[in-house]
Amino acid sequence: MNLVLRKVQLPLAHFTLEIDLALTARATAVFGPSGSGKTTLLELIAGIRRPSSGSIALDDTVLVDTTNRARFVKPQHRAIGFLPQEGALFPPLTVDQNLRYGYAPEARLQNGLSFEHVTEILEIQALTARGVGALSGGEQQRVALGRVLLSSPRLLLLDEPLAGLDTALKERLMPYLQRVRDVFNIPMIYVTHAADEVMALCDEVVVLESGRVTGHGPPGQFFEVSEQPRYRLRGAVKANRKTTD
């Protein structure tokens, strides 16, 4: 993957997002505090928002270029998958209909992203007949991940997909994300403000603060193993706890 953002600018409420960046890694983390423009950056790449100036190109395709007769490729023609924080499953549709929303089986034979394969890897085969409202938080995120994978994206944008979930559920879902990275081989940009997620998943980190890139490099450059203890529920309490997933 070769994603290039050239002098991309977009005025936001408290600052102007200004990005000049080239991404080539298999999994890139966009790391930064809340309100630093991380989600907006993903929206610009997905085509949900337009920059006020600048250009974005993915491999050989110019997605947007404000100088070149205002070229803009609509999101439905970009083949860039976007998984928002809340998953955004479509409530009028069943899980099966959600999963098949962007799925065209004939196009998928080439990249091996078959319906059966994706639902098996994410362990969601048993959920397909259900309504969206009948899913737990973790199930919803797995279905949303399956849906975006089945649309055969050439780039996957993940916006804090684990942020709204409790620690136990996060630990259960991380392997699914790693499987997506390793099995399906789709490059991903992963927005988060959790350092452990960056270390578990990403090869490269972009640090974003107030709309500007303040750091770009391998995760080891920005994070070190902390000596601080992490707390877990004791076995007895954990056994009594009703699982949410």
Partner: protein
């Protein structure tokens, strides 16, 4: 039930239905434009659509009469080019009830569209769906409860319209006499018994309409 009362009831239901069907696509389209887009003149259109709610219905009726009457610009146009008379016919009743009930449909539908999370539509686009597919598969089903409620309110408003209708269509038995016009006319003539019958019919239709819509909404919630 006498033939006259039956005719009045049937005529009113037909007129209210035609007027609701007529404004539904426009009202829903306009509500969507108001809810989702910014365009020049938006605030003027917003105000125009809301106007029939706040100005006296009789004033709206007078305005319509000036436009649609034989010497009005629109009335003259339709008569000359299509040979269609509008003022003081059933068509005037339909137009008057449509204009008077439009604000209720547009406002309710607009709130319904504004209640649909735009994130869902954005995600649907990134999954490869074009504008129409997103509208029919995501936006419309999610807004449908509000649209049904809006159509029902418009229908109920059309059933009871009086002020604008009497101005532009008059009270012509068998031609423009709706339930509300007939109730007023019968009370003027001292025929209170028949007026009460029409009142009971109005109540029954309104009750039925609301009850049916509530059942539809209940089913959808399940």
């Amino acid at each position: 039930m006498s033939a006259e009362i039956w005719q009045i009831t049937w005529f009113t239901i037909c007129v209210a239905s035609i007027s609701t069907l007529l404004i539904f696509p426009f009202g829903v389209g306009l509500a969507l434009l108001l809810a989702r887009r910014n365009w020049p003149g938006k605030s003027v259109v917003e105000t125009l659509v809301a106007l029939p709610l706040v100005i006296p219905p009789v004033a709206t009726g007078l305005l319509l009469l000036k436009l649609l009457g034989n010497r009005g610009p629109l009335g003259e146009f339709f008569e000359r080019h299509f040979g269609i008379e509008i003022a003081f016919t059933w068509r005037a009743v339909v137009i008057a009830t449509a204009i008077m009930s439009m604000p209720l449909l547009v406002r309710t539908a607009r709130v319904a569209f504004e209640g649909v999370n735009p994130r869902l539509e954005q995600v649907a686009h990134t999954l490869g769906a074009g504008r129409w597919r997103v509208f029919f598969s995501i936006t419309l089903p999610l807004a449908s409860r509000g649209l049904i409620a809006g159509a029902l309110l418009a229908f109920a408003r059309a059933l009871g319209e009086f002020g604008a209708t009497i101005m532009v269509a008059g009270y012509i038995p068998g031609e423009t006499a709706t339930l509300s016009l007939s109730i007023y006319h019968l009370v003027q003539l001292g025929r209170d018994g028949e007026a009460l019958t029409l009142l009971m019919i109005s109540l029954a239709i309104a009750f039925g309409a609301v009850w049916i819509s509530e059942s539809i909404l209940r089913k959808q919630r399940k």
